[in-house]
Symmetry: C2
Subunit: 128 residues, 2 copies
Amino acid sequence: MRGLHLTADLFDCRDPDGLMTAGAPLVALCEQLARGAGLSVVGRYFHAFPPGAHGTVGWTGVLLLAESHLAIHTWPEQSAVTLDVFVCNVGRDNTAPAHRLLDALVGHFAPKRVRRQQLVRGIDNADA
Amino acid sequence: MRGLHLTADLFDCRDPDGLMTAGAPLVALCEQLARGAGLSVVGRYFHAFPPGAHGTVGWTGVLLLAESHLAIHTWPEQSAVTLDVFVCNVGRDNTAPAHRLLDALVGHFAPKRVRRQQLVRGIDNADA
């Protein structure tokens, strides 16, 4: 089992479509982009946090994929979003779909700053 | 927003309790360990994959936490498990609870080899 885990932490999001505080539109967008990237959605769970001091509602959610998962947490009071795309490469290399999904999501939030990181997951170099 | 993302990829799991192919007991264990580590579960979604060539059923699942999430994918045919614990440190430092949860889960699968990695998430060093 080998996999690729991409993360993106978004700051100063302009969020032109108001996705950070949206429920159904956010879920629909995640699913649409995942499928558009060629990944298979097998489940989803999204949870709204109670309104904060500014009255905004943040969301935390996940799409379970046949290839692993997409996780998203929105922080509207900080104009921040965290994204995770984890794909395992069983039967095919899902590197390109993972990048495609993450890039598309980042674009929808229109952040001014992005911190991207990645981990190679799996058996190579496993510790004894 | 600052956070810590811990991953552990487990290989040659002895899996003494048969958790890799369990449904409800796996969910219950994740919830029990998350709560025991002092984290707050706000949702869960687990999905079983169809039986593979060896007749075993793998699981993919997530606990949504007030602090972020726990994700687990089991690969019984490869005796492998991947674990993610992502916590954000809003209001308090969740570093110790995250390690406690991950360590406890790793112990239950009794792997012979573990690959651990971690990412500091959030605003420090954000790219322009």
